[in-house]
Symmetry: D2
Subunit: 141 residues, 4 copies
């Protein structure tokens, strides 16, 4: 039996500049938290941007869905968890959850989908080989 849920967690440092005049985190700042989560996932599981660049592959975002459940405020110490969602398509799909590890409440749920493009901006119809190998190594076929 294979483990089907690769994930990573990262604590969020809410910046002064992330908070808007309503004293809550501006909805666009979460995009950065999600990017930080992808970087943390990549470092932890060997799937970093740097690897893609070395393989001359870009992974542009094609879909992003965000549900804001509760406002974050300055001084809070939330955690973002990013989980890899296996897919047969030539796509990278991540689920995200921002939560308070002590109170247990959830602030955000989101999902992003990225595709593969070569450096001439051609969409790849099939997943690149190094990515298929990465999946194989992690039992994600």
């Amino acid at each position: 039996m294979k483990e089907q849920k690769l994930s990573a967690e990262k604590s969020i440092d809410i910046r002064f500049q992330d908070v808007d005049m309503m004293q809550v985190v501006w909805h666009g700042a979460y995009i950065t938290y999600m990017e930080d989560a992808r970087e943390a996932f990549g470092e932890q599981h060997g799937l970093s941007y740097k690897l893609f660049i070395a393989e001359k592959i870009m992974t542009p975002m094609v879909d992003m869905q965000v549900k804001y459940l509760r406002p974050l405020r300055y001084g809070m110490k939330p955690v973002i968890r990013i989980s890899y969602r296996p897919s047969d398509a030539a796509k990278i799909i991540f689920d995200y959850e921002i939560f308070d590890p002590e109170k247990g409440c959830v602030y955000l749920r989101a999902q992003t989908t990225q595709v593969f493009m070569d450096f001439d901006y051609n969409l790849l119809w099939y997943s690149p080989e190094f990515y298929l190998n990465w999946k194989k190594e992690h039992g994600l076929e």
Copy 2:
């Protein structure tokens, strides 16, 4: 018969800083284009942030769905169109489209949903009166 589609258009100035190392607009920069579109809509149709603040109402984002269809690049001159989607719920729903007015191609489609909160962070179950009046004035009931 009532006109059910209030909308506004704004040309997008792609900034140098919006473009990432892949030479395309970073996916998070579109959040700002969409915020600019909401401001343009608000100014044109009398529903600005300033009005909400004067009424001591916040309109936090609770849902955002973005489909990135084609990459934008530095030097392009796209337009964003924002359209108000009437709803009976105590919500403000906008649809967005970024397109090239000459070539006719579409770069992004998105939808956002905002709710009403008072300055004590209580969710409003009903739309505030000034908002209902605004809808009435624009034949949006």
Copy 3:
């Protein structure tokens, strides 16, 4: 006698996201206003980023000095003026002023210095020819 002060003006749209929890524009947001001013100057006077890119020249920032004189707030309608400061060195120097055209008060004064680099990241010791020509055309020698 030659005109020695090339300049451009642009009105600033203060965004909701530019304002911090203290209800004033966050100090980092002015960097974007200054970048917008450089773009406006470039478009108006034929010295755009696109031209530099076409010439395979980068113009990285090497020095930035900013004096914040008064806070900007949401709803204000300030103007930024950018002025080219002629220099014999292989540098591009701009002065900036953000002011209220009606009240006459000044919110910010700044200066930036950029240098020339080729696409291999070598600093250019002399101004590139197209830039010298541009200066000549504008009587800025």
Copy 4:
């Protein structure tokens, strides 16, 4: 004899979004690195934004001077050091240096000056008492 140099260090995670189309960190992204450094200093030495807010004091930026010495690129692992510069004036002055702890080279030097304002946006002519106490506790008079 008193120690006159309070400082803090923080490693910088260069984000994908921080890098511009020239493959180097965009000059505005350093403003965020400097804000992160101030937060780190505040947490380490008991002078956080939260403390100021609790005392109903704002500390707006009034002066910022930045020298960019070398470009940062994606994948680098620099460190930012922030040092408190004692002053008799009612000001908070910090010096910053971004450097590579292994190679020893310096990427940026900067200085910021903040003043004190109450929540009615009145400039304070004298340092607030809690700040004077903080200085005393750290031997910074």
